[in-house]
Amino acid sequence: MAGFRLPRSVGLLSPSLGANAIFFVVPLVYFFVLSFLQVRSFQVVFDPTTSNYVRVLQQYSAPLASTLSLAVTVATIVTVVGFIYASACRFIGGSKGGWFLAIAMITLFGGYLAKLYAWRTILGENGILNTGLIELGLIQSPITALLYNNFAVILALTHYTLPLAILPIYGSLRAIEDLPIAAARDLGASDGRILKDIILPQCATGLFSAFAMTLLFVSGDAIAPRLLGGTSSSMIGVFIQDQFGFRVNAPMGSALAFTVIAGSAIILVLIGLGGTRLLRLGARP
């Protein structure tokens, strides 16, 4: 029977692999090829060129850099805050820890647009925060600097990605056993030492996947900057979307999309390498 095992598993996998190939791999490859083509009189013509990428680097390097730095900011905040929160879920025992975890799970659902919309009603000039502060007598006139800028975009995207990031971090923290921690403490290790030598090395994968997920999501987002960002906070996602709207230049949009993905990938590789080095150094006595 052993000989039948592999073919059967392939058979079970084939609908999934097939759907993935036809509707994920092929569209993405097609989309990638598109980035080397050109548009002439509103028609995509087959004339391979790298000029789209040259133009991306020439014309869009500023929004590209600001998008990636915003994405790194959000990913860093989310990873650090997510780690603290996940630690609370893991290390505060009993019903409290369970409640914290439940909040993270619940806020995982509840709608991307709905959340962005909620932030708009909170931060707006006549929003809940301003009217509430005026009602309390803390401010006289509404603060207009809350909405339509990078701050609002960062806040809303942090809020959206945080529950997504908490899960992998919590998953890796849950795998850490209590015994080595208790042993280290009995031998006189400080909290900082336990964190550095036991907890962080074991949840590095969880932290990295939380960071990677957030970075990729934020760097490709077009909706938060449109709804909450100002005219100055031009994220690359908005430009990508425009190429498929009124600019009608799909190859350019594709080149923009793959450039920002490549930028995120480079950041992730550098952080991955740096992180391993750091852990190796930290592991030395």
Partner: protein
Amino acid sequence: MNHRLLWAAALIVGTFMILPLLVLVFFAFSSSPLLRLPLEGLTFKWFLRLAETQGFLGSLTNSLLISASVGIASTMIGTLAAFGLSIGKPRFSGTYVSILALPLMVPPLVLGIAFLSYFSGLGLRLGLHATIIAQVVTLQPIVILIVVSRLSGFDWAAVDSARDLGASTWRTFIDVTFPMIRPTILGAALIVMALSLDDFIITFFTIGGENTLPTLLWGMMRKGIDPRMNACALIVVAFTLLLGVIAMRLTRNPD
């Protein structure tokens, strides 16, 4: 570790995560058309106004139709794949899982646009079917990951005994394996349905002229402040939360 400090930090973060959702809930029932404090009175009128809005019922139907189709299709495909991975050689399953999980790593905007170009490049029509296909591909990895993790702790002894007693592969699956993992499969289906209902970006690029609740909400959001939006947002939130909470209870591991 300093538990009190950790507890205080988690309390602040937890409040930050849940407060915007509570704001949505309260203002969907606020009688004043202005979204400001203090709350004046409570009312259901925004829901009634929303129900009368042109296109609302169509969007609701589309949302439910897409969510149900995506839930069923991706759960079937994903569960089969998870079984394939669990009986295949462990050496390959890691690679397969990472290949199959790739759609989760691509930003939704890129996926949506890639799909749009692919469909228009092939000369295929956009619409509900395109949205369903796109969502199945992006959401089936979630089913695979959930079911694979359940099967990794699965006790195959019961399955082996059924086989030893002469049950066919199919009978074993129907009578033994499936009842054991049914909560997990149902939970995975509900999670996918919740994520499908919530999806805006991929739907926006693939649905053509149709609307779902999130794209309807988007249309209203671009026109300005309107309390019907709170009602619409709350319906999306309520649906996804309900599905999510049931799913969480079902998929909770027995350990």
